[in-house]
Amino acid sequence: MSRPRALENIRVVDFSWVRAGPWATRWLGAFGAEIIKIEWPENERGRLPSTTTPQKLEVNLNTSGNFNDTNVNKKSLSLNVRSAKGLEIAKRLIGISDIVIENFSSRVLQNWGLGYEELCKIKYDIVYVSMSGYGHTGRHHHYTTFGPVAQAVSGLTYVSGLPDQPPAGWGWSYMDDTGGMYGAMCALTGLYHRNMTGQGQHIDLSQMVASVPLNGPALLDFTVNGRGLRRAGYPPGNRAHWPGTPLVNNYRGPTVAPHNAYRTHPGEYNDWCVIVCYSDEEWQRLVQVMGAPSWATSPKFASVAGRLQHQGELDEQIEAWSMTFGKYELTERCQAAGVRALPVQSAEDRVERDPQLCHREMYLPMEHPALGLHKVQNAPFRLSETPASNHLPSPLIGQHTREIIEGLLGYSHEELRAGFADGTFWPTKRARFAYLEEMLQ
């Protein structure tokens, strides 16, 4: 590879599992850091259970599609850290690394004897990022989260839905994705600070706490104006404001109409298009795109106040028109006239039909030894000198154990074999994959 990498020569000891931690180190890997994922097959969460194994393959530790996408750009070391010998090897690895990252419960690493003070004794300027549910300090540090629980407790679930209905929430672990973002952001910030000052540090990230600042303006409306979100008309669905309720800003930008999702032809599950008009001028452009029907030229829709007041009728009329077009054709017609419109897109739409993502090469195929050739999600940023890239498929479990133990740490091949025999590198009673047998030859 001819281009330099932003994180050339940076090594990360990655104890993370499930989703948020691995999503963080995926990006450090894309920037060129060497990610050493420490795993143990008896106690693994992320590869199994798998709901993304192709129908034609057996579900096992190496066939989760989502694991593959979440763990590209990494190497896997199978290591029993709960044994004295395994812990010693982990410490030797930390001694030649720059970053330690994990997303266990708050006291796990400390209980292993790998708390921050111990890490510093091993590597004085280590950057340690802990990504626990509630953080390492605070009275509820022992509470646990998955994305949906962090979203519920932090107020993020509440901001989704329709008035007088239960919260609709987020249909996925938004805070596993976003918690992962913060894990990577913390690691990069700590690394930059280390490069500038020579000082490492422990960065104590909490998935629940990280969710709270994402409601900033709503929280200020409460702390400054005393207005909470338990109020008539909130949350207003896709609208900026729910008709018939007090006119207040709902924290998604300007209070305008139209601002909604509209059904499109042929009316199937994901046939919707979103249309927003930020000004009278944009509304008049939409009127022209619709062919200036008589209802749309009524004075009651001419002003933003009128459109907000008559949103029910406005949305019905727009939908009667939008139903006559497919969502992509509708998008093109609107955007060509300067009207804000985009289709609701499923995963299939994004991968197969989105012309922008296609042009930007968002999904490029990559060969994986167990899964075969599949598209992998690319990076949303292009760096001119140090492009981020997917250069390794996700590792098979333990795939790089020999490379790391012998090549990097300098143990002999006999010591590798002994470690397999005594349960340090693989459970003694567990069947070994063929590539592990080959490693021992």
């Binding site: 989704s160 329709l162 609709a168 913060y182 900033g216 999702a261 990076a379």
Partner: protein
């Protein structure tokens, strides 16, 4: 304890020029709160986000937008009209001193003013310039107009979020609120800038970064893409829980106080979990038949999943306030939580223990206000809000006169000519 100066943040010493609207201002805040000197450059009269509510005491005014306040902490503010020759010349002088420029103009705009990266780097080879735009600098949608809602549609967020048909028939796909499309773009932009800074700290060289908000959103739907790529599945939306290829048991239950609890039970019902669950329910005298030894048989559990979830767990939660369920369950090791409105967080003792809420002074108002704090505690170089959002042109004198050496007379001429 000494009265030594507080530790500087991890980005202390970095100079960032921010030319950002609602799409990018959060990235500037992320940098500023971690110690960078972020100079926000607004057009004369102020950035249009100052017109977005809610406003202090509901009085609309460009210095009273709470949205602007929140997203522009820890920045200094100047005004500059880049569409004048003097404005461009001053901007070039500032760019010569900058480590990072963050800009959110439409693709090609800065180049049309002769302020593209290639020309700015000639006077500053260490400069990092990040363009954060709705669709990136290239491609068929490059010039499309967007909004938070539009990004949540095209990015896939809406295709995953809504109600069960039984809860709200015929509901449209719903985009969660709060402006999270901008957050997603800014998180990735921050990462890319930091990676470029790490590289520069070693190689000495800056670079240009093109970030797409659409791509950031398309990357933020967890396993939806993998479900399609590996299994061809298009997922269905469900109330308060994960999208799925087929229906899954509910996880959101109404509590006695009318609010909700998120209780992740389905998929976890093994004998140990059921025993712990029986103990939790029994501590309130609500275990029903769950303590019956028959529930230590996985087959019996499987046959009674609906009874356990829809009768026992639902009734238990219906009998208690949501906060009590949350804490009682967590103390026994259950990953459950109360579905809170954001304002409830002000009373959360855990956040208080972490020093999360920050008092920020607004000296021109003679008042202090409480702001949300940090996602993560940086133990060696702390996060802090160094100042409230800048007033319009608040630091014009400080930056143009003190730092760039303009005279007061020159500053007046610039103001008269709408350059600042």
């Amino acid at each position: 304890m000494s009265d030594a100066q507080p530790l500087p943040g991890p980005l202390a010493g970095l100079r960032v020029l921010e030319l950002a609207d609602e799409t990018g201002q959060f990235c500037g805040k992320l940098l500023g709160d971690l110690g960078a000197d972020v100079v926000k450059i607004e057009p004369p009269g102020g950035e249009r986000n100052r017109q977005v509510g809610p406003f202090l005491d509901d009085i609309p005014h460009p210095e009273r937008s709470l949205s602007f306040w929140y997203y522009n902490t820890s920045k200094r503010g100047i005004t500059l009209n880049l569409e004048t020759a003097d404005g461009r010349q001053l901007f070039r002088r500032l760019a010569a001193t900058a480590d990072v420029i963050l800009e959110t103009f439409r693709p090609g705009f800065l180049a049309s003013l002769g302020l593209d990266y290639e020309s700015l780097r000639k006077q500053n080879a260490r400069l990092i310039m990040c363009a954060l735009t709705p669709f990136g600098q290239t491609g068929p949608w490059r010039d499309y107009a967007s909004s938070d809602l539009l990004h949540m549609a095209a990015g896939g967020e809406m295709a995953s979020s809504v109600y069960d048909e039984a809860d709200v028939p015929n509901a449209p796909p719903i985009a969660p609120g709060g402006g999270n499309a901008w957050h997603m773009g800014c998180h990735f932009a921050y990462m890319a800038i930091m990676a470029a800074l790490v590289y520069r700290s070693v190689a000495g060289q800056g670079q240009y970064i093109d970030v797409s908000i659409h791509e950031a959103c398309a990357l933020t739907t967890e396993a939806a893409i993998a479900n399609y790529i590996y299994r061809g599945e298009v997922l269905r939306r469900q109330t308060g829980r994960h999208h799925a290829a087929g229906p899954t048991p509910r996880t959101q239950f109404r509590a006695k106080d009318g609010t909700y609890v998120c209780a992740l039970v389905a998929g976890r019902l093994n004998p140990k979990y059921v025993k712990d669950l029986a103990d939790l329910l029994d501590s309130y005298g609500m275990a029903g038949d769950l303590k019956d030894p028959k529930y230590q048989d996985p087959a019996v559990i499987a046959a009674n999943t609906s009874h356990i979830i829809d009768d026992l767990v639902a009734n238990f939660i219906a009998g208690l306030p949501a906060e009590e369920v949350y804490h009682a369950a967590q103390e026994r090791g259950f990953t459950w939580g109360a579905v809170r409105a954001p304002e409830a967080l002000l009373d959360d003792p855990h956040l208080h223990d972490r020093g999360f809420w920050k008092e920020v002074e607004h000296p021109e108002l003679g008042r202090n206000f409480i702001y949300p704090g940090e996602a993560a505690i940086y133990n060696g170089a702390p996060w802090r809000i160094s100042r409230r959002a800048p007033l319009i042109g608040e630091h014009n004198t400080e930056i143009f006169c003190v730092e760039l050496g303009l005279s007061r007379g020159e500053l007046s001429v610039l103001a008269e000519n709408r350059v600042i």
